[in-house]
């Protein structure tokens, strides 16, 4: 296991805010909308720099998605900002008809995804959003892992023409990807080459996988860690290549087991190269109030859970 270090601790939503500002500077067609959560989404800098291109829509997410569809129709690149639950479940039919089916160039940018939203509890903690968004034809689904990658992803999705769901989070987490690393939609990133098991992780679980890899290295297990920042389109070749090499797979995500990253990987393996596989994800249940760390522990999303999954899957080889 090579040593992977982080430069600082920062939140992915701040990466989004910084990326949005850069994208706004680069392209005057980038416009942003927010449903009364400017501070939470870190959209202040864009709003201050480009007030005429920023639209406060109030707490009316359905209207925001519809307006985004209209702005995109007229050639703008609209970015919608609210929490992940209100970006998906709250507006699923609007996203379906006005964004995905109509294939509009709308960027749905969603913060506070997953359990790490924390104390607000299950009403706000979506662990179903990836499932809903990846099931919509035309929709690209991206879940970056740290500040730098979220910033890069935010800038990259503005260059791509089509609907995108960009998912990020609330807590400050290790920022370890290189600041100058190019973000390529749909291209998995190799973090550590290994021989015994392939760990495919997304979002906050990428760093947890690195922590798990270090623990496993001490036990003599050589893990391959791949960052799947793009859930859809999935980098099928990278998945199959790594799985064929190591012979077993673990997936890790801050999402329900049903409908998440693991589902996709299982489908790819089942259809092409069936291999032992374990999924680190949340069972079929809602979250609850607690600190992010407490919740990740209670719901089985810690490094030790990845370690245990790796040991189980290697035993099944």
């Amino acid at each position: 296991m090579k040593k992977i270090t982080y430069t600082d601790i920062n939140d992915t939503r701040s990466g989004f805010g910084a990326g949005l500002l850069e994208a706004g500077k680069k392209n005057k067609n980038v416009v942003a909308m927010c449903a009364d959560l400017i501070g939470s989404l870190k959209m202040d800098a864009f709003k201050d720099e480009f007030p005429e291109r920023f639209f406060q829509v109030g707490i009316s997410e359905a209207n925001m998605i519809g307006m985004a569809g209209g702005l995109a129709t007229a050639g703008k690149i609209p970015v919608t900002g609210t929490f992940a639950n209100f970006s998906t479940a709250r507006v699923l039919d609007q996203v379906r008809q006005t964004v995905a089916y109509s294939n509009k160039n709308v960027k749905i940018c969603a913060s506070h995804a997953g359990l790490t939203l924390g104390e607000d509890g299950a009403t706000h903690q979506t662990m179903e959003d990836i499932s809903m968004m990846k099931n919509l034809p035309n929709m690209v689904v991206i879940n970056p892992c740290d500040y730098n990658q979220t910033k890069a992803a935010t800038e990259a999705i503005m260059e791509y023409v089509g609907p995108v769901y960009l998912r990020f989070g609330r807590p400050k987490v290790p920022n370890f990807t290189p600041a100058d690393q190019e973000f390529k939609i749909g291209e998995a990133l190799m973090l550590n080459e290994g021989a015994d098991v392939s760990i495919f992780a997304t979002g906050h679980m990428v760093w947890k996988s690195i922590e798990a890899g270090e623990i496993l290295a001490e036990k003599g297990i050589d893990v391959e860690i791949i960052n799947i920042h793009t859930i859809k389109p999935m980098d099928k070749e990278a998945v199959l290549k790594s799985a064929a090499k190591t012979g077993c797979v673990v997936t890790a995500e801050e999402h329900l087991r049903n409908g998440g990253l693991g589902d996709n990987i299982a489908q790819i393996l089942a259809l092409n190269n069936p291999l032992p596989m374990e999924m680190v994800a949340v069972d079929d249940k809602f979250g609850e109030s607690g600190t992010p760390d407490e919740l990740m522990t209670k719901y089985g999303l810690d490094a030790k859970d990845i370690v245990a999954a790796v040991e189980r899957v290697i035993a099944r080889k």
């Binding site: 009316s60 307006m67 209209g70 702005l71 039919d93 008809q97 089916y101 294939n103």
Partner: protein, 281 residues
């Protein structure tokens, strides 16, 4: 100066098309389509500045229309075809497999004239606001028009959009409500009474006008007034009084033809009331 007779003849052909299209596939929504025919005919033939021969999705430098109650698609398809967006002969493919003329309008098949899918109700006003904002950003002083069913106003998103437009003074939009007072399960009054509808829009910050939607002369007059009222800090809502099924005597004034196609005899009876004007597809 509008040629009322010419517009009425156009509308008569559209009504024939609607009935034949719906009859051919034994499905679709003739009632609302017939009621809104005069208005949409007037929009495309008289009121809007638009470019039919060179369809531009972004609608820069032209007026734009969104049909929010997408189920009255046969009417829109006929108006678009006779306005030059696509071949009139294509109307024969309505609701058939591999057609660009889907049951509800869509951009997915690349049909000229359609800029947004509609069908799941309540979404078109928001879309129109997005285009209206883009036009303001671009310094394009053309207008955005919409049509909504009155039953569609049951949807909460309509009122989210109405609130936004009033609060943010989006004054380059004219939203028309097809106030035929019927919805699928019966009369508006019976299903979900809209109460004082004008007062509702006014309370949301809109200027409200009323129009007789099956009277071509009144449509031309009121729409000119509506256009003149844009750019003054308020969005415009028009309560358009229509008869569901207008133009076919046995279809008028009832919700029974909302989503039902005529049989062979009923089609013959209806077409006898609507002489061919521009030529059938």
């Amino acid at each position: 100066m509008a040629d009322i007779k010419q517009l009425q003849d156009f509308a008569t052909q559209v009504r024939r098309d609607i009935l034949r299209m719906v009859h051919a596939v034994s499905s679709g929504h003739p009632g609302g389509s017939l009621g809104a025919t005069d208005f949409v005919t007037a929009l495309y033939q008289e009121i809007m500045e638009h470019n039919a021969s060179n369809f531009n999705m972004e609608a820069n430098g032209e007026d734009v229309f969104f049909l929010s109650n997408g189920h009255i698609s046969p009417m829109w398809y006929s108006v678009l075809a006779h306005s030059g967006y696509f071949a009139v002969s294509e109307l024969a493919t309505f609701r058939k497999l591999n057609s660009r003329l889907q049951g509800h309008p869509t951009t997915a098949e690349g049909l000229e004239g359609i800029r947004m899918a509609s069908g799941s109700l309540g979404q078109g006003l928001s879309v129109a606001l997005g285009v209206a904002l883009a036009k303001k950003l671009d310094g394009d002083n053309h207008l955005v028009y919409t049509l909504h069913g009155d039953g569609e106003l049951d949807e909460g998103q309509i009122w989210e959009a109405a609130l936004y437009a009033g609060a943010k003074k989006i004054d380059n939009i004219i939203a028309t409500v097809d106030y035929n007072k019927q919805q699928i399960d019966g009369s508006i009054e019976h299903v979900m009474d809209l109460g004082d509808l004008g007062a509702k829009w006014r309370a949301f910050g809109w200027q409200v006008m009323e129009m007789q939607g099956n009277d071509m002369a009144d449509i031309i007059k009121v729409m000119a007034e509506a256009k003149a009222a844009t750019g003054k800090g308020k969005p415009i809502a028009i309560l358009m009084h229509t008869e569901m099924g207008a133009g076919v005597d046995f279809m008028e004034g009832t919700h029974q033809w909302h989503g039902k196609a005529p049989n062979d005899d009923q089609l013959a009876t209806a077409l006898a009331q609507l002489p061919e004007t521009l030529g059938d597809y």
